[in-house]
Symmetry: C2
Subunit: 293 residues, 2 copies
Amino acid sequence: MLRRLVVVGPGLIGGSFALAHKARAGVAEVVGLGRSPASLERALALRIIDRIALDAQEALAGCDLVLIAAPVAQTGTILAALAPFLERSTVVTDAGSTKASVVTAARAALGQRIGQFVPAHPIAGGETSGPDAARANLFEARTVILTPLAENSPAVIGLVDAAWRDCGATVVTMTPEGHDTALAAVSHLPHVLAYALVAHVAAARDGARNLALAGSGFRDATRIAASNPEMWRDIVLANRDAVLAQMDGYGALLETLRDLIAKGDGAALEALFSAARATRNALSPAPSATPEP
Amino acid sequence: MLRRLVVVGPGLIGGSFALAHKARAGVAEVVGLGRSPASLERALALRIIDRIALDAQEALAGCDLVLIAAPVAQTGTILAALAPFLERSTVVTDAGSTKASVVTAARAALGQRIGQFVPAHPIAGGETSGPDAARANLFEARTVILTPLAENSPAVIGLVDAAWRDCGATVVTMTPEGHDTALAAVSHLPHVLAYALVAHVAAARDGARNLALAGSGFRDATRIAASNPEMWRDIVLANRDAVLAQMDGYGALLETLRDLIAKGDGAALEALFSAARATRNALSPAPSATPEP
């Protein structure tokens, strides 16, 4: 059980982390920090946090764990603000969707204290955001990826590992680069493709009419295009090289498919579609989906 | 109320049409025809059809309405088999996902009797298929597109219009070409993209490991990659020109996005993502989604 947990950004992810600790392992006090006073007030009203910090120094006194749950581009700025007041026994983790850029920013911000920071990424969330979307069971049966650093002691890694497991999550470990390559494929590319699909359909001359004919397939395929634009701008830019590589690989496959369709190669098309269906059906059962907004 | 309804292919779509008529407007007898004896037996066991036809001639005697619910490439063959036994008072409709190719095939198969055929496309269905997936409420609050022909009399169009409305659907009218262009954008392209996304991710060196990290966003975005490969092979080939045009337009937008990411144009990226989110959020509320398989 944690004594004092500081959540920087008690929205969907940070708020759910706080609620999970309150509901499961217990936590003596949750303190909220963030750039939006309205969001902090809302988190307080929802009892996600127990109080709003006066400032970073006051928040960090006697703090066991800090979770940074903010758009990845802000991680360096946040860590730099926390660094002067970070006690030796305080451990910091984050929830950013990219890891190499976060590690670079953390090294610059924390210097000799980098060993106190254990990067993490919970595979959870969705197109909802803010304190009102937070729920205690968000991380249950979800995967959290830790990308520990050479400077992290086993005790520090163990504390962060336990903190995520205490939320009900399964924890796996990867390198920051391995994480970024994998997530570029299964998360960042799909978000770019979904935004592009909606933009493409809407831009057509009969876009509005066509969208009115969209069925549940289009809705499912584009649900993630309702995700936070600022957050996803930051993610694709923070993981630029891996995202571009995925877009190029995907674009090449689309060209192959285009050729098969143009020359009417039904057998090859059916084979590709069948293999994709088998792969899709072999995915492990999904955790409960975020409801349609 | 229909006297005799013949369903060619009493699977998800054909079976749901039969069940909707039984549950709502009523129908004296539903007769099943199809290429799969096992599927027909299953539809009979589920009371979707009242009996299995001996042959086309026997099935069509005294028949008010025929629904062809089979992969679009089979429509011409099916209509040619029915044509010799089609009584003057029998009306035929279909449920194919493309319309121009179906109309061409229907003209060839029916000749002078083309006026008895009213092409239709219910925007319903999903990645499930077969009689076991059929349900009486599948078409409730869904859109059905009719693409009537110059040869159709008002009475014939009215009968088909009423038959789909009797299933709870909203009926709209388009030209076959307008239908095919619109559906290429909001249905055919998304299916191709989803199959391609799964194939692309699976083909990577760490494909299996990456897929194990896929969250609910990837699952939603690729749900339609679990759709029937034969059916979708037929659809993209039947609507080849429109599908290729959509792929080219989408590919051009992806190139634009790629450039924005490569040069780090965060403002333009956020603007594009924000516009897409606004469009996505403005879609009318979805009908109940097909459950995850």
